[in-house]
């Protein structure tokens, strides 16, 4: 329950933080260079606005849908639920990884929630906060090129020494044209491929490219999956800081 909140806050808002800030790191090895290039391609936008249809599918159950509007600017993320009806009007403001506020319309009040948990899903989503927030890898991971085709790199990504990471290993397929990931396989310490994420249908505005669909399959939960389908996207539009204020939550 509390987990729900904190996950909700971080997750729903960062739900689309697929391209905020970049992190620079020295990359000597060919694999690290590819990883650095990918980080750069993921984090070019200054502001973004997304609308997403989120579809959760658990084995043996019907689909569950969520609707999200997300605004991103720097570290700040503002998310509003548009569906389901019960959640409509719920807003989440993330000012920083530890400073979050939620406005629940039925309660008419803003609640501050500080959370320290980031490895769980939210509202049945197979994406964890870590999965959605991790858009810059080379600060904590190192990569080597496992194989290569004329159009793709296949990176094997492992944590740098001394780094604590959500996964023990990732295998990332990076398209050479845009230097963006099309598939990420996540592995646990035992070497099991626990999750597989696919990013498809990249479209670009200038040099900023984002996928039109993301899908995360949890291989340990009988194939439970979450699909995020982008229905609207605006990039680098002017966004006032007032949009990312507590007062905006209650409006």
């Amino acid at each position: 329950m509390t987990r729900s909140f904190r996950s909700g806050l971080l997750l729903a808002a960062s739900a689309l933080a697929l391209m905020t800030h970049g992190t620079s790191a020295r990359a000597d090895a060919p694999g690290d260079k590819v990883l650095t290039a990918m980080d750069g391609a993921l984090n070019r936008a200054k502001t973004q606005y997304f609308e997403y249809d989120v579809i959760n599918q658990e084995p043996g159950k019907g689909e569950r849908k969520l609707g999200l509007q997300v605004r991103l600017k720097g570290d700040k993320r503002f998310t509003e639920f548009t569906a389901p009806a019960d959640m409509k009007g719920t807003k989440i403001l993330i000012m920083s990884p530890t400073q979050m506020y939620v406005f629940l319309p039925a309660f008419g009040k803003v609640r501050r929630i500080a959370s320290s948990v980031s490895d769980q899903g939210f509202m049945g989503m197979t994406f964890s906060q870590d999965d959605l927030a991790s858009q810059a890898y080379n600060a904590t991971y190192e990569a080597k090129i496992g194989s290569e085709t004329p159009t793709e790199y296949h990176l094997v990504v492992t944590p740098k020494a001394g780094q604590t990471t959500p996964y023990a290993k990732m295998e990332i397929t990076v398209g050479k044209e845009k230097m963006l990931p099309s598939e990420i396989k996540y592995f646990n310490a035992a070497g099991t491929n626990v999750k597989t994420e696919t990013r498809t249908g990249y479209t670009c505005e200038g040099n900023v490219c984002v996928p039109s669909e993301l899908k995360m399959v949890d291989n340990t939960k009988g194939g439970a999956s979450t699909k995020m389908i982008r229905t609207k996207w605006k990039v680098n539009e002017e966004m006032s800081d007032d949009l990312f204020s507590k007062r905006a939550l209650g409006e």
Partner: protein
């Protein structure tokens, strides 16, 4: 029969028979390999029982309740190293295929209010880096042990054990999941004592021990049977033939199951031994008869004479045995029907092989005849039957007395099913159950399923109220329901652990619970069904059944079925107030029990009196709380820079306007504090910012103050420390329900009873076991009656006489009375394993009677029943006794195993078979008055045995004197 026999002794026909059998055997081996094991204990539940139907519906709706539980004993669960391992194991479990959710102390979320910044701080109850120094560890211990949802569920109240839960993913094989959970936990905690509980582990255990028992005991059983058979035949080929025919019947049976896609089950594990034991009853008489007749008439003629004389008896006895096994088909327990059907098929195969394959092989190998010896066994049996026949009146009276005593004992037999029916005392599941009972308040659960609109706060309060009422009953150690989850998340949002006031709020909170496996065990996806899980510490089945009866009575006496939601201040406000007060009083009593606050009738009365005395509402700490809010990060308004210290003035002013202020009153108070008119734009803006939070703060402060007054008024003695504070806080949250804007009441008198309804049903494994017990009793009666009617009917047809049919059935009836009477006297319950006993007794017992009666004939056509009994005992006795000993030995071996069902079946059947043989040798000489039961009947005639001391064609005088 003679034509058939003469056909079979032709070499080409014999080769054909052997070839066909071998081809079918090869095909059977191929198909038998595909037989899968279904160890689902729920399959034993009869589907047409009302309790079972509800249970299956609940299982389907809530995605199964098969949770794997692992208890780990430790001296210090707060040791950093232990907690670290628990974190790793829990994380690994959640990344294990087939595990939907792994839960332990290590991944439980927790939140605490942030007094400085406002709102809450959330995180795992156990920090990622568990504290090392003593003071921090003590603080963590106190924090954890103050969480009622954790203590008794994830950590033992004595702090000496932790519990890990593994919820299988949809469609995952619970047994496979249990094995993976076991592997992960064992790797993480290799040296700690571990206890494996819950259905997946119990099912896995039963499957494993059954397989282990069969693997380890079958060779022993086979060896003993082999030895007894060899001692009887003193011939390797004959011994091999007897065993081969029964072995083939097992192979054919599993082959058919494989070909038809039928799965094996726990009871089916005993089928090979049953077939081995009962199937040998067909081969043994034929072989024993053949040795004697071949010695007298040569191989071919001896074989023909064997089939002509003993074949019809074997056929009649075999068909009757098959019919007895088929009587299990009248049961409404599917696995038992499967067992009955395929064991009957196996017997039919064994019977067929005895009359075709064995003679064919005898013909092909030219098995030599042998003069029968006088043998000790034969002499004992002859002595026994003649003695009985000579003293039939006193023996008959003694038998009647025994039968009457048995009949009395039968009335004492109780059908009783509980988990212990599937495992022995001291076995791992038994140890786990004891561990869970001692440390976690029990391993037994049952549930109440509530049907209603769970987005309606009134219904959620009813769910909680029902759980509270049950929590007050004896042996109930804890309850869990979705309203508690909603209350917890409401506490995170509003600061009070209670069901929210509006449906919109409830729906919103439910939104955050989507996809949570722990919640899906408490509420269906459509939010129409809730489960209240009730944990009990009852050790005895009688205690559990008494509790079930109390709960059912409580459910039956519920005041509300069809309901309406009424405005608490509307026309039915008096009823609403009464209803809300009653629920609050029950809630406080349940909270007191949960938190260890002693409450008796006097305290409860005091609580009720206090609730009825609607005293003044106090908001003692409101000013400080409002000031904290205004200075927190949750305050989204803007206070003016003047007057100085505006926040303090605003807090003071707002705290003075009462517990339930209107927006106008808030505006006036704000204007007064800020020296501005109430219509000022800044004041209006502030009103919109603070109105809802202020109402929440004032309500909470009023409730907290009220809780303290209630504790004092009712003279409640609080536990020290965080637990006592938590009780007061919980009582405060509960008191807020008195001001709920709506209440759920029965449809008003005179109104059409068509409102929404709340349905409640009691379900769970204990309910199931009760239903299964009833079903086993009914099934047992049905199968016994059916089997006896079949036996008497078949025997009557065979002997063309109803009295003779009854005579043939008399040993079976006597055996049933004695065995079941002994069960009643010894307190051995009737359960799944023992419920198949009657059919087995009937099947084997009637065989003995058929063989003894077939040889019942005084030498030289005389009328002396004593000599007839002696002849019958001498001729058929050794075969009967040999088979009884084989059956007894085969089944007795099963008692050396660990699988409880096999133990029960093994021990009782072994005893029953010996009893049946004895009953045959005693009851028939008492009751049989005809000179012969062999002609003119379809049974043919069993010629007397010639011992080695007799001349080949002489008729022996084998009476004792």
């Amino acid at each position: 029969m003679e034509k058939f026999a003469r056909l079979l002794v032709q070499k080409s026909i014999a080769w054909g028979v052997v070839a066909v059998v071998l081809v079918l055997a090869a095909a059977s081996v191929f198909f038998a390999r595909s037989v899968k094991q279904d160890d689902d204990l729920l399959a034993f539940l009869p589907r047409d029982n009302a309790d079972v139907r509800v249970f299956y519906d609940v299982n389907r709706r809530f995605g199964g309740l098969e949770t794997a539980l692992v208890g780990i004993q430790t001296k210090d669960p707060f040791a950093p190293e232990f907690l670290h391992r628990l974190q790793l194991v829990t994380k690994k479990l959640n990344q294990t295929e087939g595990v939907a959710y792994g839960m332990s102390l290590a991944n439980i979320d927790d939140f605490v209010a942030d007094p400085d910044k406002g709102g809450i701080s959330t995180g795992y109850l156990i920090p990622a880096d568990p504290p090392v120094d003593e003071a921090a560890r003590a603080a963590l211990r106190e924090k954890v042990m103050s969480r009622p949802q954790v203590v008794g569920n994830l950590i033992a109240e004595d702090g000496q054990a932790v519990l890990i839960y593994g919820f299988p993913a949809f469609g995952a094989d619970a047994k496979v999941v249990a094995a993976r959970v076991r592997s992960v936990v064992t790797e993480g905690f290799p040296s700690e004592a571990k206890y494996w509980g819950g259905t997946p582990f119990i099912s896995g255990y039963i499957y494993d021990v059954s397989q282990h028992d069969i693997r380890t005991l079958a060779p022993w059983a086979s060896g003993i049977i082999l030895l007894i058979t060899f001692l009887a035949f003193r011939d390797v080929i004959g011994t091999a033939l007897a065993l081969a025919s029964t072995g083939l019947s097992i192979v054919f049976t599993f082959g058919l199951m494989g070909a038809l896609g039928v799965t094996a089950n726990v009871v089916m594990g005993s089928m090979p031994v049953v077939l081995f034991a009962l199937g040998s009853a067909f081969a043994v008489p034929i072989l024993l008869r053949y040795y004697a007749l071949a010695h007298a008439h040569g191989s071919d003629e001896g074989l023909v004479r064997t089939l002509v004389s003993v074949g019809p008896t074997v056929l009649a006895g075999g068909v009757t045995s098959v019919a007895a096994l088929l009587s299990l088909l009248v049961m409404n327990i599917a696995p038992m029907r499967t067992f009955g059907l395929f064991t009957a098929f196996g017997l039919l195969v064994g019977l067929t092989l005895s009359l075709t394959f064995i003679p064919a092989v005898i013909r092909l190998v030219g098995l030599k005849g042998r003069a029968p010896t006088d043998g000790v066994l034969r002499a004992i049996l002859v002595r026994l039957t003649t003695t009985v026949a000579q003293h039939r009146v006193p023996v008959g009276v003694a038998l009647a007395a025994l039968a009457l005593a048995g009949a009395y004992g039968v009335t004492k037999v109780q059908a009783r099913m509980d988990n212990a029916a599937f495992y022995s005392k001291g076995s791992p599941p038994d140890q786990a159950e004891a561990f869970l009972r001692d440390h976690f308040g029990g391993a037994q659960f049952f549930q109440l399923e509530v049907e209603g609109d769970l987005t309606e706060p009134g219904v959620l309060r009813e769910v909680r109220g029902l759980a509270d009422s049950v929590a007050l009953l004896p042996h109930v150690t804890s309850t869990n329901n979705v309203s508690e989850i909603v209350a917890t998340i409401d506490e995170a949002m509003e600061g009070s652990a209670r069901v929210p006031d509006t449906a919109a709020q409830a729906k919103l909170l439910f939104g955050f619970l989507e996809g949570k496996r722990a919640v899906s065990q408490l509420m269906s996806d459509d939010r129409r069904h809730a489960l209240i899980h009730i944990k009990v510490d009852a050790e005895k089945i009688e205690e559990l059944e008494a509790l079930l009866a109390q709960v059912e009575q409580l459910v039956k006496a519920r005041p509300i079925d069809r309901y309406e939601i009424v405005d608490a201040t509307g026309p039915r406000n008096a009823e609403a107030t009464t209803r809300l007060r009653a629920m609050v009083a029950t809630r406080i009593a349940a909270l007191a029990r949960r938190d260890g606050v002693p409450v008796g009738a006097a305290e409860i009365d005091a609580v009720k009196r206090h609730l009825e005395a609607s005293g003044a509402v106090e908001t003692t700490g409101a000013e400080a709380a409002i000031l904290a809010y205004l200075r927190s990060e949750e305050f989204i308004g803007d206070l003016p820079k003047t007057p100085a210290d505006a926040a303090r003035k605003v807090a003071s002013s707002l705290a003075a306007i009462g517990a339930r202020p209107t927006k106008d009153a808030i505006a006036v108070a704000l204007g007064k504090a800020l020296d501005r008119p109430a219509s000022d734009a800044l004041v209006i803006d502030l009103v919109s910012s603070v109105a809802r939070p202020l109402q929440g703060i004032l309500a909470h402060e009023a409730a907290t103050s009220g809780a303290k007054r209630l504790v004092a008024a009712a003279h409640l003695t609080l536990p020290a420390g965080a637990k006592g504070a938590r009780f007061v806080s919980a009582v405060g949250s509960t008191l807020m329900d008195l001001d709920a804007p709506t209440a759920l009441l029965p449809v008003a008198a005179g109104a059409a009873p068509d409102g929404p309804r709340i349905g409640v049903q009691v379900t769970g494994l204990p309910v199931m076991n009760r239903g299964l017990s009833q079903s086993v009793a009914v099934n047992q009666e049905k199968s016994i009656v059916f089997a006896l009617v079949l036996v008497v009917a078949l025997m009557s047809v065979i002997y063309r006489s109803i009295p003779s049919g009854l005579l043939a059935a008399s040993p079976v009836l006597l055996t049933l009375l004695l065995v079941y009477g002994a069960m009643g006297a010894l307190g051995i319950p009737l359960e799944i394993g023992t419920s198949m006993l009657a059919s087995l007794i009937t099947g084997a017992g009637v065989n003995y009677a058929a063989h003894l009666l077939a040889a019942w004939r005084a030498p030289d056509g005389g009328d002396d029943p004593v000599r007839a009994a002696a002849a019958a005992a001498a001729t058929s006795g050794p075969a009967i006794a040999t088979n009884a000993l084989m059956v007894c030995a085969g089944f007795l071996v099963l008692t050396r195993g660990e699988a409880k069902p096999l133990q029960s079946v093994g021990g009782l059947t072994a005893a029953a078979m010996l009893t049946a043989a004895l009953a045959t040798f005693v009851a028939l000489p008492v009751l049989a008055r005809r000179r012969s039961y062999v002609t003119p009947t379809p049974l043919g005639r069993i010629e007397p045995v010639l011992t080695s001391s007799d001349a080949p064609e002489a008729t022996p005088d084998i009476t004792a004197d």
